[in-house]
């Protein structure tokens, strides 16, 4: 399986600021995803990070709020822009592994917005 790391592991931010979360995979993967997990809740897909093209966002999520980059097959970033306390969540990246449907998750970034 893939080894996935995320930076930072946690952060406390002030409202109105932005935070960029990094996701690094130890192997090249075709598909990378970003999910949000609000406190005590399930996971919700934010977007699919496409290599070489714009990310594909799910309903309720927009590029201005959650810009995503995918410069190569092993790395992606998610920015949470103009943060409010409602953005306090765990943000997780995941990768689809070798077209076998298996999807593996990173350890997550725990974000608290004050």
């Amino acid at each position: 399986s893939a080894v996935i790391s995320q930076k930072p592991s946690r952060d406390i931010c002030q409202r109105g600021t932005s935070l960029t979360i990094q996701c690094q995979v130890d192997s090249q993967v075709t598909m990378m995803f970003w999910y949000r997990q609000q406190p005590g809740q399930s996971l919700t897909l934010i977007a699919t990070a496409n290599q070489g093209s714009e990310a594909t966002y799910e309903s309720g999520f927009v590029i201005d709020k959650f810009p995503i980059s995918r410069p190569n097959l092993t790395f992606s970033t998610l920015t949470v822009s103009n943060m409010s306390p409602e953005d306090s969540s765990i943000y997780l990246c995941s990768v689809e592994w070798h077209q076998g449907d298996e999807q593996f998750f990173g350890p997550g970034t725990r974000l608290t917005v004050l």
Partner: protein
């Protein structure tokens, strides 16, 4: 609107007992059904997964039962251990896009 409904929200089981978690779905295009285990402060870990062409899959103490006609699937944890105490999520995805729709999660507590 949650595409995968999961129950119960929580359960407590004695060590050595069986934990059963149920999920139901409506989208007949789903063709991949994984279960994830998540410990506090950690990312979800893939536990076991099944496709609709089989009715049961077993890996160690974990078994998925799948009922295609009822659009339901369940996770059975046999001989539950305190180390199994975690939150379990069922999920489903459609062919080729790999986007996972998650259930609400079940918190399992195994009492020694």
């Amino acid at each position: 609107q949650q595409q995968v409904k999961q129950s119960p929200q929580s359960l407590i089981v004695q060590k050595g007992g069986i934990s059963i978690i149920n999920c139901a779905y409506e989208n007949t295009a789903f063709d991949y059904f994984p279960w994830y285990q998540q410990f506090p402060g950690k990312g979800p870990a893939l536990l076991i997964a099944i496709r609709p062409d089989v009715s049961e899959k077993k890996e160690g103490r974990f078994t998925i039962s799948f009922n295609k006609s009822a659009k339901q699937f369940s996770l059975h944890i046999m001989d539950s251990q305190p180390g199994d105490s975690a939150t379990y999520f069922c999920a489903a995805s459609t062919p080729n896009d790999y986007k996972l729709s998650f259930g609400a999660g079940t918190t399992v507590t195994v009492r020694a």
